[in-house]
């Protein structure tokens, strides 16, 4: 068949298909009223025409046009429609705890590195307080010493307003969640970045903890950190686990090609990353509005803090048990 006849016979059909594509592409949300009946059929027809045009070596313009139509059709037909809200709820109830248990090896290693370095540094600094200066410059040490000094703390808390709480909330989100994401992404460097971030943060937190304990500021420091610590510290450990997983996928591809292994590791690590975001968001909220509150008694903060830890640990240990089996 000559090209001109071919174009004449089918031009209308292509035009209809293109109009339908334009409606589909412009829709932000799936509008139920649009008529998309016959789309798949028309798409197959266009594919068929493209194959014919290629085989018969019709002019480049026509082939390009059909190729373009088929490509756009392909993207519409194979687009996945997901219900975001349902996915989020499902993820929190089932997906996240299941993912943590599935990756328990990486989570254990990351937790070991992070909490291990934290506790070790805390003990060392407790017995040798000058160690804190090898981690922080002098001004920083003076800053946080003053912040947790029981004498000055009462004064500082009174001057702290609700607006300050908000500012800190913003700061915690930007800073902490950013660190979480970095820990994950830097795991690509064969896991080295994730290990560095875990140890770095563990040592930094441990040094402060040991130093302040030795000074006897326990009643100001621990009630403050125990609440959000349940979400923040576990969040960082899980971010490290996601990073380690990524690095391991690259380092030990097993039977897959290295590229495929990397893609698969990234895909499997994603639930952990979403979870880190979720945990650190809660941590930022608690840290800004609960931990800093001066109206709550120390007992209340310890009780709440302990129950947060219990909640987080049992969430990972028991959450979605039936769903994952």
């Amino acid at each position: 068949m000559k090209q001109e006849l071919f174009e004449q016979n089918n031009a209308q059909q292509w035009q209809r298909f293109e109009t339908k594509l334009e409606t589909l592409e412009s829709l932000r949300r799936k509008d139920k009223s649009t008529d998309v009946s016959g789309f798949a059929e028309q798409y197959r027809q266009v594919c068929h025409h493209l194959a014919l045009a290629q085989e018969r070596q019709y002019s480049p313009y026509l082939i390009d046009r059909l190729n373009q139509l088929a490509l756009r059709g392909h993207q519409q037909l194979y687009r996945s429609h997901t219900n975001i809200l349902y996915n989020i709820v499902y993820f929190i109830l089932v997906g996240f705890p299941a993912a943590v248990r599935r990756e328990i090896i990486f989570v254990s290693i990351a937790s070991g590195l992070f909490f291990g370095s934290l506790l070790l540094m805390a003990v060392l600094t407790y017995f040798n307080p000058s160690l804190v200066y090898s981690v922080y410059p002098e001004e920083n040490v003076m800053d946080f010493t003053e912040m947790y000094d029981p004498a000055s703390k009462a004064r500082m808390e009174q001057s702290r307003t609700a607006a300050d709480d908000f500012t800190m909330f913003g700061f915690y989100i930007k800073n902490n969640i950013g660190i979480g994401f970095q820990t994950f992404a830097s795991g690509f460097l064969l896991g080295a970045g994730a290990i560095f971030n875990l140890l770095f943060n563990g040592i930094a937190i441990g040094a402060v903890m040991g130093y302040l304990t030795e000074l006897g500021y326990t009643d100001t420091f621990f009630p403050f950190v125990i609440g959000h610590g349940a979400f923040e510290l576990t969040g960082i450990a899980i971010a490290g686990a996601a990073g380690l997983k990524l690095g391991y996928g690259l380092l030990c591809p097993g039977r897959l090609s290295r590229k495929q292994s990397l893609i698969q590791a990234a895909r499997e690590a994603m639930p952990l990353v979403y979870g880190v975001f979720f945990m650190l968001l809660i941590a930022a909220f608690i840290e800004a509005f609960w931990s800093s509150s001066s109206y709550l008694s120390i007992t209340a903060k310890y009780t709440a803090g302990a129950s947060f830890w219990l909640l987080v640990l049992s969430y990972f240990a028991l959450g979605a048990r039936r769903g994952s089996q």
Partner: protein, 226 residues
């Protein structure tokens, strides 16, 4: 075909042509995005300064979102195109050319910090030159690729002409060359057209403008005109 074209076989058993975007156009798109992001952050800082400390909190949160999710949100919700990519006519898609998913987009954009190392996206650039699809590390890990989203060219105007059968039998490739010549005619100068047409003098026995006209007639015949 140029070597930045890839064949993609679809479940319908046809080969689609995918045109991969190279580093230069992607750097330009990235530059535009960076400028937009920078401008918006400064604008927000000035606007939210009025709100004092609460404004500061909002600014911190919004810059956090822009830092990590600006490309993700645009890529997923806007057919794979951030404003910069849209301006350059390129888009992110999955390896199989389906629209990019949330997870894939997050992976490719979070791994930017690896691509950035040690400075100025050197790792990403090296990675792009080491594989045939110009993938940076983020693309490799996410299984995505950046392609041209070509605007369909205007339909070429086919010159009114009588038709003439070719003097010798032309194979499919040669026929296609004839058609292609006529479709591209308007983009070439008269001299260049004649220069190209003169190559066929030994076969078609015409020269200069006559040769051009003769090719147009042959192409019209091939296309099916009378």
């Amino acid at each position: 075909m140029l070597d930045t074209y890839r064949k993609l076989e679809t479940p319908e058993n046809i080969d689609l042509d995918i045109h991969i975007a190279g580093p230069l156009v992607r750097i330009l798109a990235f530059t535009i995005d960076s400028l937009i992001r920078f401008g918006v952050q400064i604008g927000l800082l000035i606007a939210l300064a009025i709100l004092g400390k609460v404004g500061m909190a909002l600014w911190l949160i919004l810059t956090f979102v822009m830092e990590w999710f600006y490309p993700v949100l645009f890529e997923v919700l806007n057919h794979g195109q951030t404003p910069g990519k849209k301006a350059m006519g390129i888009a992110v898609v999955n390896d199989d050319s389906t629209p990019v998913s949330w997870s894939a987009s997050i992976v490719r954009n979070f791994l930017r910090i690896v691509d950035f190392l040690p400075m100025g996206y050197i790792t990403g650039l090296v990675s792009m030159t080491l594989n045939k699809d110009f993938k940076r590390i983020g693309d490799l890990a996410a299984g995505t690729v950046v392609i041209y989203r070509e605007k369909q060219n205007k339909a070429p105007t086919w010159p009114a002409s009588t038709s003439a059968p070719p003097p010798v039998a032309l194979n499919l490739k040669q026929q296609r060359a004839m058609l292609s010549f006529v479709e591209r005619q308007n983009t070439l100068t008269r001299e260049r057209q004649q220069e190209l047409a003169n190559h066929l003098q030994p076969v078609f026995q015409h020269q200069n403008q006559d040769a051009v006209n003769y090719i147009v007639r042959v192409a019209t015949w091939l296309r099916g005109g009378q």
